[in-house]
């Protein structure tokens, strides 16, 4: 099935793909046909820089259980990061 489930958010960071590091300007989250995994459908997580073309992409396919665990881990680490007081940007 083609779910057409997809969300895009602006992002700031960097990702390392086949051609090395590049600036990430957007993240795409979807659930649709898997390509690289053996799942029928998977959570599709792409870190991209559309200005550099379709190849500026680091892609991950995950099952839903891993996705949920990832959300929880992200939340936990973000909270710990905020408690630590360590700056994200150099002052």
């Amino acid at each position: 099935m083609c779910t057409n489930i997809s969300e895009t958010l602006p992002a700031e960071g960097a990702a390392k793909g086949g051609a090395g590091w590049f600036a990430v300007t957007a993240a795409n989250v979807g659930f649709d046909h898997a390509v690289g995994s053996r799942f029928d459908h998977a959570l599709l997580l792409d870190f991209v820089d559309p200005a550099r073309g379709p190849s500026a992409r680091v892609a991950v396919e995950l099952d839903l259980e891993t996705g949920r665990a990832l959300v929880a881990a992200l939340q936990s680490v973000i909270e710990a990061a905020e408690r630590s007081g360590a700056p994200v940007r150099a002052s």
Partner: protein, 257 residues
């Protein structure tokens, strides 16, 4: 039919990427495979699936050429940019997918490109799987002018209002009255989109409008059962399905010459 070739036949074919004037007047890449020789040959427009303009569809094009068809498979994501097929498909997905209106224009232009070939017999079918099945049916229903249409497990043909989007603003079912070509449908009973119930609903609408169609359903298959590189592959169903496709196109696209 599969393996029904003649061992003493020349069986030459030419294949490669070309560019043609597609929807909106844009120059769009297409993969073309054609049998060698003067013809006349029927044509088939191949509508690639959501995962993109990929190696599988190039193989499909060559398979059709092996069976005596000139096949053209436009890159419906051509305007998105270029790279490996899965990267381009991901960019297209993030942009909401290909626009129905532009896809229909691209397919109609590909149809006319085929008909203009000196080797053409004048008859052109349209074939698609997954989102391409839906697009094939949409083109044959909204624009018309094809001689046969094959929709293989096209999801979203029967679409609820909350499944519509700016790129896919219509339920193809609503265009059934306009379908002006015989329709072949192949579906897996284990598919979730379309479910057997949605296929039933589509069939009801086709009957209501007196359309010529044949649906074949495969109890042991789900979505994408032709895709030998995926776990969804079902060899027996796929081989039977290919036979159904060639039977159907043979009946409706040949001119006997």
């Amino acid at each position: 039919m599969w393996n029904s070739l003649r061992t003493d036949a020349p069986a030459g074919l030419a294949a490669g990427v070309t560019a043609y004037r597609a929807g909106n007047g844009d120059l769009v890449h297409a993969y073309v495979a054609r049998p060698e020789g003067p013809g006349p040959y029927p044509g088939v427009v191949l509508v690639h699936h959501l995962p993109g303009w990929d190696e599988l569809y190039r193989e499909f094009a060559r398979r059709f050429a092996d069976h005596g068809y000139t096949a053209i498979c436009p890159d419906l994501y051509c305007r998105t940019g270029h790279g490996e097929p899965d990267d381009v498909a991901a960019a297209a997905r993030a942009a909401g997918g290909a626009s129905d209106d532009l896809v229909v224009e691209d397919l109609v232009a590909a149809r006319d490109w085929l008909r203009a070939l000196p080797t053409a017999n004048g008859r052109v079918g349209v074939f698609g799987t997954c989102s391409g099945g839906r697009h094939a049916l949409l083109a044959a229903s909204k624009a018309g002018g094809f001689d046969a249409v094959a929709d293989l497990w096209g999801g979203g043909v029967v679409a609820a209002p909350d499944e519509l989007s700016p790129q896919r603003p219509v339920s193809v079912l609503d265009y059934t009255a306009g379908l002006d070509a015989p329709l072949l449908g192949l579906f897996g009973d284990q598919d979730k989109s379309p479910t057997p119930e949605l296929v039933d609903r589509h069939e009801e609408e086709l009957r209501k409008h007196g359309k010529e169609y044949e649906f074949h359903r495969y109890p042991d298959a789900g979505h994408g059962f032709f895709y030998y590189h995926r776990a969804a592959y079902r060899a027996e169903s796929a081989m039977d399905g290919w036979q159904k496709v060639f039977d159907f196109f043979g009946r409706h696209l040949s001119t006997g010459s």
